[in-house]
């Protein structure tokens, strides 16, 4: 039945979000791409998921730089002293 096959060929949001993520790692097949494209045409929450997922990737990607320029935490003074002593002892 045409109705059934159309329904089966469209991703639900759970599948769509998985393929949104897979697309970052590998090239999707033509069927996967078509299904995802159709889903995204009609699904605003998943469209937002695409943008927000990219935002998360970007933030985590720059985490290292950011924590170097502007460390969020300070290594406690006692630990600094302890490490320095151990380094001195090792040299």
């Amino acid at each position: 039945m045409a109705f059934v096959s159309v329904r089966n060929s469209i991703y639900n949001c759970k599948q769509a979000t998985l393929f949104i993520l897979k697309k970052k790692d590998r090239r999707l097949s033509i069927t996967e791409r078509a299904r995802l494209f159709i889903h995204l045409l009609f699904c605003d929450p998943c469209k937002r998921f695409v943008k927000q997922s990219d935002f998360i990737d970007h933030s985590l990607h720059h985490c290292d730089e950011m924590l170097y320029d502007q460390p969020v935490h300070s290594l406690p003074e006692e630990t600094r002293k302890k490490i320095q002593q151990e380094l001195d002892a090792a040299s």
Partner: protein, 194 residues
Amino acid sequence: MSNTLHPADWINLYGDYLYSLALLKTGNKEIAEDLVQDTFLAAFKAREGFKGISSEKTWLATILKNKIVDHYRKKDVLKNTGDYLAATDESFHDSFFTTGDKAGHWTPATAPKEWHTENADNPVNEREFYQILQYCIQKMPPKLVPVFLARFVDQENADEICKEFNISSSNYWVIIHRAKLLMRSCLEKNWFGA
């Protein structure tokens, strides 16, 4: 030109950086302190082997990264991951998606809302933002965390991660999918203030 090491400056230059990184990844102050200490000592012992190809900073960060992976291994965090994922499959699905006839769609509570990202573009708030990131990593089920960090913080690829943690490709995708859904919803709740 090759890079050189200056161990005398390490704690001042990289102490807070490595500590912040370790705390982001482990969420535990004592563990983070121990990891930083181990990193500096291991680096000092291995200093003869430093080839100067990467920067001092990158070299130290790589040592820390390996220490953190060892830490997960020692704690056996990823033991029985397959069983864990199978056992929690249904409850995870139900917490994010509809069930029944039209299964697999967002529920009104879980559907992504519009974010106002100027919050995160503002440098004044960056520190706070990274604290929220750290909080959201801590709130994730521990079995998801190592893979999530390897993929999104350390930028490793899927094959490397599957080998490193001895997991199948399908479990890798279940973990990445769950972790991303959880991280997104945690940020929406705690940062973008739905």
